[in-house]
Subunit: 213 residues, 2 copies
Amino acid sequence: MKLYGAALSPYSARVMLAIRAKGLDIPLTDPPGGQKSAAFLAINPLGKTPVLEVGGAHIIESAVICEFLEDAFPTPPLLPGEPLARAAQRTVTRLLDLYVLPPLLSLMAQTGDAAAAAARLSDLTRGLDALETVVGRGPPPPAADGVLGLADCALAPTLIFLERFLPRYTPQDMLEGRPALAARWAAYADHPLVTPVALAMETALEAFRQRRG
Amino acid sequence: MKLYGAALSPYSARVMLAIRAKGLDIPLTDPPGGQKSAAFLAINPLGKTPVLEVGGAHIIESAVICEFLEDAFPTPPLLPGEPLARAAQRTVTRLLDLYVLPPLLSLMAQTGDAAAAAARLSDLTRGLDALETVVGRGPPPPAADGVLGLADCALAPTLIFLERFLPRYTPQDMLEGRPALAARWAAYADHPLVTPVALAMETALEAFRQRRG
């Protein structure tokens, strides 16, 4: 197996976290010819990463890849056994993917004018308010044995973006007034699985900035 | 259990299909006070349906509800057992939710100007192209015994929108040149589980139109 993706992407980082949490050894590699090459579009017609290559097959979409890893490598489990508790984990990922990461990444891409940026910040605020409620109701924070849930795998890279990268774009502290998210951020800060992924993201961001000059 | 939702919504219809496919009897009911009421916002801070009430708990987001139904009521299964085949099912739902339904519903809401509508149609076209590829690669069409997969539960209501409702907004036949999607549409047309859900959607659309005058 190999994972096509980019260390800086919160979607790739989510899968890398799940891979580490499972104790798997799957390398992260650049898509052949780049994300928009004909070779890669034949793999994923959306031209997006991450994509997991499994034998001759390819799995697209980070949330689907994470569920595949859970199905194919059930130990250690990253989802609990009880159906309602599984739903709580999946709801966090879902809110991130529909209501938090799209406005967050748009905001950082800095395309469009000030009005567009304000609209994105407003969308992000609304998404984070819902996320705060959902995270506050459960799922529980990372277990004492250090294993993460799939919700943590998705949430940790998002919080790294919010707390480490977004401050260059807005003075607002997005975790202020959101104690459930702030508690997660504190739990991830020195987590042995999160730390190397966070470092890879920061290194990739620095390289990206230097390339862009 | 009860499902808060609206018969016209492709997201509610997806869950209703999964409920029927499981042979469950869960009523579809209006959200208390409407989707944006304080009572309902306390249940789902996003103010969206469907929401499944299970005992005192609430599960939001249609894709999460469908996975919950699969976990809590495993027979008959709506996902196959093999991890790659499960991923193929989930990829269809995911593409619908991220790249097909948002532009489709925006287009039908007819907010914004002609340029905005053209941009949405372009997004929808791109999403449908990716969906065609993914559906063409698998998962298999509904089994001969009439049981649907979770991919079918999500796809059938979307195709009802595309083929029955969207023609009022654009002359383009969205299934033309997309044989995998057209084959699904043919398979769903007289499917005993899909037919009553399609009828409920059409009845709701008619009522909506008459209310709007």
